[in-house]
Assembly symmetry: C2
Homo-oligomer: 204 residues x 2
């Protein structure tokens, strides 16, 4: 969690699947939920976990997806035990799916190397989105009358609270399936150990 | 895979989360992709995997979700190694999410106890959906000129081919999040060892 190795997060050059994903984001842009994907992790007990996440853009000059999360959420414990994830991103208008798998790290308030990226992500959030990081413990029993209930508005600062984490998913394998078209099309991209990408059509 | 223990798949009575999920399916019914969810599994290597799946209805008189899959697909190897899954089902119109986690089994042609359910699922498929089970090996390199390429139509029989598997996900834990509303609402349901369900509001 602290002083994450940036080499984990950064692969040089624009990966070949980036243009397909950019096109999908553009062609589905009228639907706000096109920026949501489902993120799978493995719990400390070895079970699969899955939840919807908002895409927060790219870490500049990398192929790394950014997202934000609460340090108290289940996925933080999952990633501490198993630092990998697979995002499944389905675009409803163009009927295509991207599966993006690779190492994932979280950047919290103790991280120095990526502190500027974390601060930038905090500043990009709306006031409403920021307030969630001051809410009571996620998934704890709901105390309807609590003074720190989600109902209560909190002043949100310019500095991210300790609960705020930036998540970085760096795909090493991307599987792009296009359901439209007869036949369907599917491409598999893999990051090689020398840092280059390969890509090839595979059977759907 | 063979002669699955039906007790794994069946919990008696309608679970308390079923009415909320039925309501979501009804209120989002104008969008065909509302019947798609993302299914997370764990690979034999212990990595998370995630893909979009079509909901194929309930196993009759149970709280078990059904889906269909190709025996040659990656999720079959995942479930053989780790027979659990979490479905993440996001409804775009009503802005609510269900996370459904529990044991998952696959019913193939060698299973006798659940052979009728598998046959029923096969008969419910469209001709187009059935043809995919005669396609060449999923995720193998694409041979554009192959005679058994996805382009080629195949006669589809009334009997399911060996590639056809019925998947059964039996939730033991359901997390329902409603993003609409201020405050947001979230409920957690758990199956107890005595077969009863508990449900309670939790913090979003």
């Amino acid at each position: 969690m602290s002083d994450s190795d940036p080499s984990l997060c950064i692969t040089p050059g624009l990966a070949p699947w980036r243009s397909s994903l950019a096109r999908a984001l553009h062609r589905n842009r009228s639907r706000p939920y096109s920026r949501y994907f489902q993120l799978a992790t493995v719990t400390p007990d070895g079970y699969p976990a899955n939840r919807t996440i908002v895409f927060r853009g790219w870490l500049p000059d990398t192929n790394t997806l950014t997202l934000v999360t609460d340090r108290r959420s289940g996925k933080v414990a999952d990633l501490a035990a198993h630092p990998r994830a697979e995002a499944c991103w389905y675009f409803t208008h163009t009927r295509e799916q991207f599966r993006l798998a690779g190492p994932m790290v979280l950047v919290d308030s103790t991280d120095t190397a990526l502190a500027p990226a974390r601060q930038t992500a905090w500043e990009a959030l709306s006031t409403n989105a920021r307030q969630q990081f001051y809410w009571p413990h996620p998934a704890a029993p709901r105390e309807v009358q609590s003074s720190d209930s989600p109902q209560a508005g909190h002043d949100v600062g310019e500095t991210a609270p300790d609960t705020f984490c930036l998540g970085l998913l760096t795909p090493h394998r991307v599987d792009h399936l296009e359901l439209r078209g007869d036949p369907q099309a599917r491409y598999l991209y893999r990051l090689q150990t020398d840092g280059r990408w390969t890509g090839a059509p595979i059977n759907p």
